[in-house]
Symmetry: C2
Amino acid sequence: MNLNEAKGKFLEAWGTLGSQWGINRTMSQIHALLMISPNALSTEEVMEELNISRGNANMNIRALMDWGLVSKELKSGDRKEYFKAGKDMWEIARKITYERRKREIDPVIQVLAGLKKEKIEGEDSAAVESFVDSVKNIHDFTLSTNDLVEKFIKSDEHWFYKTLLKLVK
Amino acid sequence: MNLNEAKGKFLEAWGTLGSQWGINRTMSQIHALLMISPNALSTEEVMEELNISRGNANMNIRALMDWGLVSKELKSGDRKEYFKAGKDMWEIARKITYERRKREIDPVIQVLAGLKKEKIEGEDSAAVESFVDSVKNIHDFTLSTNDLVEKFIKSDEHWFYKTLLKLVK
DNA sequence: ATTAAGTTTCAGAAAGTATTGAAAGTACGA
DNA sequence: TCGTACTTTCAATACTTTCTGAAACTTAAT
């Protein structure tokens, strides 16, 4: 199989995975493209490889930089910006986990914590009890998970990875 | 705060969380609604609580049953179907993990495994090497993660939960 | 100060997803 | 077997998200 064909299959699979997880298709594909490239690519090159517009390329490269997954590289004697992605999967997983937790989990925890503090009033006392109880359970669960995630994010090197792999065996 | 107001806040937060994770808003909200209800609800009741159409309610309740998150309950002397959701968060997390892995991760692993078997040909040998190398890394990572997830899914009771919580402390 | 190379922005178009509502389907009891 | 109570389906529509392309902006060399 030739490289371009193989690349195409990989980029497609990765894009699909991303989009199922609420990360836009192009963003995952650019990331994947930069991961498999031996050298940093310019916006032009990204546009060409993925057949996307300049605007789209630019926006998603920015987003990847915001997530800390991609960095800029300047080549002396060239005004273009080049972009490259880190290749360590655990580092990538950590960064993605960090961003998503911040954006998605933290707000939910706020809501749950807020609700837990409130005195809930209502006619149907079984309904009130059930609600209060569920909120408590979900909040506890979310906090535990969050602690675990926190540990993962902060773990230096591959400590966490190694520990988890031991669990698997 | 009265129950309906509190419910509203909770359902909204949960719906948003779901939609960010590629699960449709209504599906998460129905699930959340059934979780906080002390008793099983009919399609009518779900429609009314969430202000959604019959078709929408029906489709998403079916989907939740496919995922194993919601079950049907029949009340004698009543032709209506009632639905209820399990309340154990770890059980819920396991079921969601199981479904998503099956639908999303497994296909990617197939693609990666397929690519790894191929002999990749190309002009630019650095590009080929980089590609082959990345695919290998990503495949290894994905397999490890998958093993871990597998262990989680298959773990009976709360073994896994307890083990993880120990890690956090 | 001007030009040229490159980057960013954003309104509108296109694509993708979710929702409705009404018609078709099912199954139970009389 | 008919009527009724309920469930399911699906084409049309509404909504959301993503993408484009061209104009505005930035920067640096001359």
